[in-house]
């Protein structure tokens, strides 16, 4: 359990990443109001065939991160800084035309609520074929055939008939499959899935996740999985970045993270998951407080007000510096001054010591 496993896609890791996000910041500024730092210096990268999870509570900045990567944030009142590179090409500051040419073709996104994410007045078929017409030069018949094939591929039965139907005539799972089909239409190299299973029944959730996993394996797509659901992370992600209040507070490979969470927040997330194999009557361990009880990162660790391990030096005032994101053993990064310790695991303790 404590043995550090090699990442499953060791070879891919050495390959050039499809997506490199570097010190991404997103600031919402309104006239006469304090600017909000929704994303505050987030860096990560995704290689072909790799699945990276961005995990955190609502409002931690994970969805804003994904919209910033896609260039889908409104222009007005939003400042995006840092760097987002796709295949080495900088996306921030790229022209609207360039971004439109890439979106849907090179990078695609699957959204959270499949009903509201589909146009209610346009048949499913048109919503699939419009991507094909836009990015791939196809005749009408070719596009319809391709759309049928796509719906079939994502597991929609009787695809030819479904093409003519409208979103409200499909079940929730079908709608999410249709959205995935649209995202896959041009075989993108990067797929961002923003909580794709949140609005679905549990049984359907598993099917959709399985579908996404197959896609990654079959086509070598780089997948960014945005979720608050640790079950999704456990089933799908190779590497996990835990976000809190706009910053990454812990990064690790999936196995390491589940085996030995170091950030007390990650530990709290894992502890608050109900377990079927636990004894009856054992109370759940929620993280106290809510995501609103934060202090700005400039004043100290944003999680400190809710943290059981918090001490005086978690505050900038006392420590003299903000809490940095530091190496924490092989393949791990951590933003914490008083992490969870694992006495029976010498690797973790020495690694963190050596990193400093």
């Amino acid at each position: 359990m404590t043995i550090v496993e090699l990442p499953p896609h060791g070879d891919d890791r050495t390959g050039r990443p499809v997506l490199e996000v570097d010190e991404l910041t997103v600031t919402f500024a309104r006239k006469g109001e304090q600017p909000t730092h929704a994303v505050d210096g987030v860096s990560f990268s995704v290689a072909p065939g790799e699945t990276v999870g961005l995990v955190g509570e609502s409002g931690c900045g994970k969805s804003v991160t994904s919209l910033a990567i896609m260039g889908l944030l409104p222009r007005r009142g939003v400042q995006v800084g840092g760097s987002v590179r796709f295949d080495g090409h900088e996306l921030l500051g790229a022209s609207d035309r360039t971004l439109r040419r890439m979106r849907g073709a090179d990078m695609a996104m699957v959204f959270q609520d499949p009903l509201s994410s589909l146009n209610p007045t346009v048949p499913i078929g048109t919503q699939v074929t419009e991507v094909l017409f836009e990015h791939r030069e196809m005749s009408r018949k070719e596009a319809v055939d391709e759309a049928t094939r796509l719906l079939d591929r994502v597991g929609i039965p009787d695809p030819a008939r479904r093409l003519k139907e409208y979103p409200h005539q499909l079940s929730g799972g079908m709608r999410q499959r249709a959205l995935i089909a649209m995202a896959l239409a041009c075989s993108p190299r990067l797929l961002i899935a923003d909580e794709p299973t949140t609005a679905l029944d549990v049984t359907i959730q598993a099917q959709i996740l399985e579908l996404l996993r197959e896609l990654v394996v079959d086509s070598g797509t780089a997948l960014v999985m945005i979720t608050h659901d640790l079950g999704v992370v456990a089933g799908l992600c190779d590497r996990v970045h835990v976000m809190y209040a706009g910053r990454i507070i812990e990064s690790a490979d999936r196995h390491d993270l589940f085996a030995r969470p170091r950030q007390p927040y990650t530990g709290g997330l894992l502890a608050s998951v109900p377990r079927l194999d636990g004894a009856r009557g054992v109370p759940l361990h929620p993280i106290r407080g809510s995501a609103r009880d934060v202090i700005p990162w400039t004043e100290g660790c944003a999680f400190a007000p809710r943290c059981d391990n918090a001490q005086d030096d978690c505050l900038t005032e006392v420590a003299g510096s903000t809490v940095p994101l530091e190496l924490d053993g092989p393949g791990r990064e951590l933003r914490c001054r008083h992490p969870l310790e694992y006495p029976r695991s010498p690797a973790g303790a020495t690694a963190s010591g050596a990193a400093r």
Binding site: L72, P120, V122
Partner: protein, 334 residues
């Protein structure tokens, strides 16, 4: 679909029965009465009695009503007490005028209102936005007859750019086929007559179209502002679709759903007669006919016109309901 239409048409029967009963009772309760109006204030009681006997007005009310109903189902509403002509004939002569006027007014309101509302929403907060909001408020707040007078005074009387009264220049000897003057002109290839009839629509049409225009601008603007923040517009952008495709297929199409409701309602209202505008421009439509009939206590015309307008109104609403289904598949009737 067919069943839906038939059911809606059957609903007309109770509506018309109720309306006719109401009309009948209400008109008979008016002071004065047709005899007084026709014969003047100084008519002798004998003359009035003779008049009433002649037109069956001395019979008990229920007899009058049943008699009226029996003829009404054959589209016979009697003759106008004022002109002596058959009510139905007069209606079919005047209704096309009102329909033409309504079409012009609504095309004006739609053609200007939807683009303006869309632009105002997309440039939210700009001078164009605030101007259109204030302008539409003014449009709703300005009394139609006042605007009609103003337009007539300025463009017809002072500047003389456009005709200010009637449906057609008297000296033009146009052939009548359908009583839609513009259409008649086109059908008979008397293009000067068609153009003249069209020019006669401009001023009353603009006066009549102002309120629908203002309402359409406001609703389009609000609706576009809603729709651009919808998830499916984000999806469309995430697919990398061209801006024009996103606008046409994903924004405008959905934004028009509430606008179409308004258009339907407003069209129905205008069709049932724009009394004030038609009077100002002496436009020979149903509105001015009803206006004259009220003054003349012309029961036959009032009953006939109002009942037939009710039918028109219900038919327009049926059309609107059917068109919803074309626009929004979620309410499509089976």
């Amino acid at each position: 679909m067919l069943r839906f239409i038939v059911r809606r048409l059957l609903q007309l029967i109770p509506i018309l029965l109720g309306l006719s009963l109401l009309l009948f009772a209400w008109l008979r309760a008016l002071p004065g009465g047709p005899a007084q109006a026709a014969l003047g204030e100084r008519a002798t009681p004998e003359a009035i009695a003779r008049y009433n006997e002649l037109f069956g007005l001395d019979q008990p009310l229920y007899v009058q009503y049943l008699r009226f109903l029996g003829r009404a189902v054959q589209l016979d509403f009697g003759n106008s007490a004022r002109t002596g002509r058959a009510v139905t004939e007069e209606f079919f002569e005047r209704m096309p005028g009102t329909i033409e006027l309504t079409l012009f007014a609504m095309l004006f309101a739609i053609g200007v209102g939807i683009p303006l509302g869309y632009l105002a929403a997309r440039r939210h907060g700009s001078w164009l936005d605030s101007t259109s909001v204030i302008g539409s408020l003014l449009g709703v707040a300005t009394p139609v007859f006042f605007l009609a007078y103003l337009l007539r005074l300025l463009f017809a009387v002072e500047l003389g750019w456009l005709p200010g009264s009637g449906r057609q220049e008297v000296r033009i000897d146009a052939t009548r086929i359908t009583n839609f003057y513009v259409l008649d002109g086109l059908l008979t290839r008397e293009f000067d007559a068609a153009w003249d009839a069209f020019l006669h629509l401009v001023l009353p049409g603009i006066a009549l179209g102002t309120i629908p225009l203002a309402i359409i601008v406001r609703i389009t603007r609000a609706s576009v502002l809603d729709v651009v923040n919808e998830d499916y517009v984000r999806t469309a952008n995430a697919k990398g679709l061209a801006t024009a495709t996103v606008r046409r297929r994903h924004i405008v199409r959905n934004a028009l759903l509430p606008v179409s409701t308004t258009i339907g309602l407003q069209t129905g209202l205008l069709l049932s007669g724009a009394v004030l505008t038609e009077t100002v421009f002496a436009f020979g439509g149903v509105g001015s006919a009803i206006f004259d009939a009220i003054f003349a206590r012309d029961f036959a015309v009032l009953q006939g016109f109002i009942l037939m307008l009710a039918v028109v109104y219900v038919l327009v609403n049926l059309l609107v309901d059917i068109s919803y289904g074309l626009l929004d598949p979620r309410v499509r009737v089976r």
